[in-house]
């Protein structure tokens, strides 16, 4: 009696406004339940016992959905029944016992008995699901269960059917499809399945190989003077707040991380179509009449409601290219703290665009960073802001993610590609988004001027241009996202 829908519907329809008579109400609704249960039983006998068979049968003459679904489609003209089962079984053997631990308790009995073969085929399918999970597809137990049921319903032996059954049940998003193709090919052989293969969503495959090696930990690049380590030892939280993230040593970084974890990033609020009960506002007919009914039809006081407010969606694009390397970790931790709110989306930008919202949804920040490190292929590579921004807008932004949102770009604006393209895409973004905020860690450097070609091209379409080099700067960024006017910037807030 307390299902999800019930409870919520309850609150919706005016329970909140009532101050008296809970007890009476409960009693009443209990009675009503009793009655409903009786009628329910009257209307639908044998619900519990036989599940869904009777209705299908009873649908009789005209074919109910269940009825004609019984037919196996003979006319599909699929790939000839290349029996996968044989190959399926080979797979676990090749991959060794680890993946398929307890799956074949009977040992290597060559019994052609049906159940044994079925179990082995299942084991192969489970192994496949496991491989998928390893590849990063979120194939939960429930999905796997659905997968097995689906395969069972379809023709088990037919490769294309197994392919589609898995793709339909195990994948949960477009990003999964590419991985699915790969793992499927690895597990069940290479021949392309009967269906069309997924065209990868125009990912810029061109991957600049990042030089992994000698990126110095405390950055002495770009002409910044390395800070003397002695000063760092004395740093308190307050001093740390204003220090450039790039110049911190390990202990300070640790402390910074703890401070970053306490962050919250809420979008500016806006009014929604949703209404909430309120003291003043328009009359809420629903609740008013409901209360009126409770009082036996006597005119009662008018209840009112008003529009609810809701924070806007925040979209954070973090530049993880080489030039941002000293800041990337801190900024991503900042993004992690920000992504705890449900309406924040996080992407990383470098040579590829990667959506990392899901990776960052781990509560534990270190787990999240590990997941993220695995998911982002382009650490410390080049920057192709324009192209990736276009990809973001094509795949997500224009459909609605950026519409009315607060978009935060955390980047130094060093564009290797065509600045003209970046400018055009920024204009496009600006038209879609409620506000575009660019946080540039390099902005705090004395004598900084937005001369980097990309930055200069982007600036006309940026609503607020802030810093992002220190904790204090990030705090201010959060305030700007919340709707504060960007503080007049003077580069002199470094400790």
């Amino acid at each position: 009696m307390s299902g999800v829908g019930g409870g919520a519907g309850w609150a919706e329809s005016g329970g909140r406004g009532r101050t008296d008579g809970w007890g009476a109400w409960d009693r009443r609704s209990d009675e009503r339940d009793g009655r409903a249960r009786q009628t329910g039983r009257h209307e639908s006998p044998s619900r519990q016992t036989d599940g869904r068979t009777p209705p299908a049968r009873q649908a009789g003459g005209r074919e109910a959905p269940n009825g004609h679904a019984e037919r196996r489609e003979p006319e599909t003209g699929r790939a000839p029944a290349a029996d996968v089962r044989g190959r399926c079984v080979d797979v676990p053997g090749r991959e060794g016992g680890t993946a398929h631990g307890g799956a074949s308790p009977g040992g290597p009995v060559a019994a052609p008995a049906r159940p044994a073969a079925g179990a082995r085929a299942d084991a192969a399918l489970l192994g496949f699901a496991r491989a998928l999970r390893a590849a990063g597809v979120d194939a939960s137990a429930e999905r796997v269960h659905a997968f097995l049921r689906a395969v069972d319903v379809l023709r088990t032996g037919v490769r294309a059917d197994v392919y589609w059954a898995g793709r339909l049940t195990l994948c949960g998003g477009r990003d999964d499809l590419e991985r699915y193709e790969r793992v499927f090919a690895a597990c069940f052989g290479d021949a392309a399945p009967a269906g069309r293969t997924v065209t990868a969503p125009r990912p810029p495959r061109l991957r600049l190989v990042a030089r992994e090696g000698p990126v110095p930990r405390t950055v002495a690049r770009n002409g910044e003077r390395p800070l003397p380590p002695a000063a760092a030892l004395a740093s308190s939280a307050e001093v740390l707040r204003h220090r450039d993230v790039a110049g911190l040593d390990a202990a300070e970084r640790d402390q910074l991380r703890r401070l970053l974890a306490a962050f919250a990033l809420r979008g500016e609020v806006r009014r929604t179509a949703r209404r909430r009960p309120a003291r003043r506002g328009e009359v809420d007919p629903h609740r008013t009449v409901r209360e009126l009914l409770q009082r036996g039809g006597e005119p009662a006081r008018l209840l009112r409601h008003t529009r609810a407010d809701r924070p806007r969606r925040v979209v954070v694009l973090v530049d993880v290219s080489g030039s941002m390397a000293p800041y990337a970790d801190a900024l991503l931790r900042f993004a992690h703290a920000a992504a705890r709110g449900s309406r924040t989306e996080v992407f990383t930008v470098g040579t590829r665009l990667t959506r990392v919202t899901r990776e960052l949804s781990h509560r534990d920040v270190d787990l999240a960073m590990a997941a993220l490190a695995a998911a982002v292929p382009d650490w410390r590579g080049g920057t192709r802001l324009g192209e990736l921004l276009r990809e973001f807008l094509d795949r997500w932004g224009q459909r609605g993610m950026a519409r009315g949102a607060v978009v935060v770009m955390l980047s130094d604006g060093w564009e290797r590609g065509d600045p003209e393209l970046l400018g055009a895409q920024m204009r496009r973004l600006h038209r879609l988004a409620h506000r575009v905020i660019w946080a540039n860690p390099r902005k705090a450097r004395p004598g900084y001027a937005p001369l980097a070609a990309g930055m200069a091209a982007a600036l006309p379409s940026v609503d607020a241009f802030v810093e992002g080099h220190s904790l204090a700067a990030l705090e201010r960024l959060a305030a700007v996202v919340r709707g504060a006017a960007p503080a007049p910037v003077e580069g002199a807030d470094r400790a």
């Binding site: 009696m1 519907g9 329809s13 009655r35 209705p55 109910a64 679904a69 994948c171 949960g172 094509d394």
Partner: protein, 285 residues
Amino acid sequence: MRARLEETGYLVDDGLATACFLALRLHRPIFCEGDAGVGKTALASALAGALDAPLIRLQCHEGIDASQALYDWDFPRQLLHLRAAEATGVKDADRLEGELYDRRFLVSRPLLKALETQPSVLLVDEIDRADDEFEAFLLELLSEFSVTIPELGTLRAEVPPVVVLTSNRTREVHDALKRRCLYHWFDHPGFARELAIVRRRLPAVSARLAEQVTTLVQALRSQDLLKPPGVAETIDWARALDALGANEVDAELAVATLGSVLKYREDTERARGLDLAAVLAARGA
């Protein structure tokens, strides 16, 4: 299944046919994602046609709530009933209360209607536009095919409706919801398939025109456009050209009617710069 869908004029590929088959057999909703205009919504109406079941559509929007999607009490009628009871002097308060929350005072909104209509096809369109809270409403409905109404109890569908959910991916739909569904990604169709779709949907249009329009759209799609045209736009374009009485299209006519395919100024500019005549010629049309 496939033949049935095709009878309604909706062409399916292997994946989609499998999805529909599984949806019917396993009673799982189909969760459709893909670009706009690739036939996500049309799938639901095709299914409805194929199963000869009514299509019940719920268009999601921001702020949609249970009283708009699920059910609502018919307050005016309840009041009337109350007044009538008073006038006739009914004194039995308990009975009166029982009557007030009777099924006949319950207004079915799309979701409840879908449970009560058997068989039926339920289309929950653009689920990503609704708030996340709304997804929670759907959970019980989609896994149990039942609805709990506090005053009445749990209503359950005898024959679960076939459910199609569509999303444009403006936000990630919650995993709890996706997990209960079959996921299908709609891609843009290839040339042969798209041509077949146009021919099927617009039998009146000449074969040559259909082929040319499809060629052009495929060429446009391979361009780098802000909004690549979907199949819906192809059909629109062919229809528009047909309305102009054209039996075949040349570059000039194509440019004049670009407005039915491309909806952004930048895209139109770009297409103008394209040598449409050459595209047509290359196809040997």
